[in-house]
Assembly symmetry: C2
Homo-oligomer: 202 residues x 2
């Protein structure tokens, strides 16, 4: 259903983007929500991250622009609408993944008016590069959130996929530099999961 | 599973809040997601609103603090974890609803350290009061988002509940003042839905 002509091209493009991104609610991640009733989707995951940014920003190693970090958490997974979610502990072609996601960013952010398309694509790129204080914070919560959910669900997904502690440590390792105050917590959670047989240790 | 003592009381409270809010992913709204496969939950709805804030802020009648408005969109429905979602076109006791939601805000935001509990509860209260520029923007997108989803799904939920155009107009009426540029669009969508028999007109 097209938006009426009278609304103007700019608003028309904004609404096309808003309609399109609803599809992120159908992209499923590997982890489950806290009552284990179903897999988590990438839209609600992004909501959770944005709120974690708000609550945990004080633990970041560098000062961050909170508004920018929240916006980054909101858009960081939008490319999955075209490119799908890649399970972090699966083996995949890094180059091929990047190509797929770049094309997705081009198309999805390109629905917006030019200035906004540029701004949001830049936010996504910044997240991917992981160099700015905001991207370090968002990457940190993006790594921490599934660990917290695995803990809350007795590691059912870790067990199902036979995940090893070393795999998780490789994935979350950035936390040690980017939010040192949280690192003992992460280590504690992983040690506990190993002790309970939820995570393989070899 | 308690967080290790060494993490400190402040971090322990932040994580208790982050664990608890996962439950918003299980609060279901009346409207469906765009492929009609299931009802939308309040967490992914809040994500959608926060991104709409980012895209549509320029249409607000007054200038807004974008970071504050995004944060408000992220927390505005958290009280539903205890109080449930109230269908906007159902009849309910307004006073009783407010009491339930205030108690929920007390408990849920109260999981956080004192300063953060105060800050987020204040954001929620501001949303409820609807007086600040940020709350007018978030309320506007909160009213617009379901209308866009109803349009994208041929009004299946409007039809199912026999919703009347006058009910929707009462619900979205604030948009005329708070984002006048969007009002013709809303009117167009409602007229079209009536013409197609998706919304009752009497």
């Amino acid at each position: 259903v097209p938006v009426p002509e009278a609304s103007g091209e700019r608003l028309r493009r904004q609404l096309a983007f808003i309609d399109e991104i609803d599809r992120l609610k159908r992209v499923l991640r590997r982890n489950v929500v806290s009552d284990r009733s179903r897999r988590e989707n990438s839209a609600e995951h992004s909501w959770h991250l944005a709120l974690m940014v708000l609550c945990l920003a004080e633990h970041a190693a560098e000062p961050v622009d909170l508004g920018r970090a929240m916006a980054m958490a909101l858009v960081h997974d939008l490319v999955e609408i075209d490119a799908g979610d890649t399970f972090v502990h699966a083996s995949y072609d890094e180059h091929e993944k990047l190509e797929r996601e770049s094309a997705a960013a081009e198309r999805i952010f390109g629905l917006l008016p030019g200035d906004q398309a540029l701004e949001l694509r830049e936010l996504w790129l910044d997240f991917e590069r992981g160099q700015s204080p905001e991207s370090k914070l968002v990457r940190m919560v993006d790594r921490l959130q599934p660990v917290l959910l695995h803990r809350a669900t007795d590691g059912v997904v870790w067990q199902e996929h036979g995940v090893r502690r070393s795999q998780v440590e490789r994935r979350v390792g950035e936390i040690e530099q980017d939010a040192p105050a949280l690192w003992p917590l992460v280590q504690h959670i992983l040690a506990e999961a190993v002790a309970r047989g939820q995570l393989k240790d070899e």
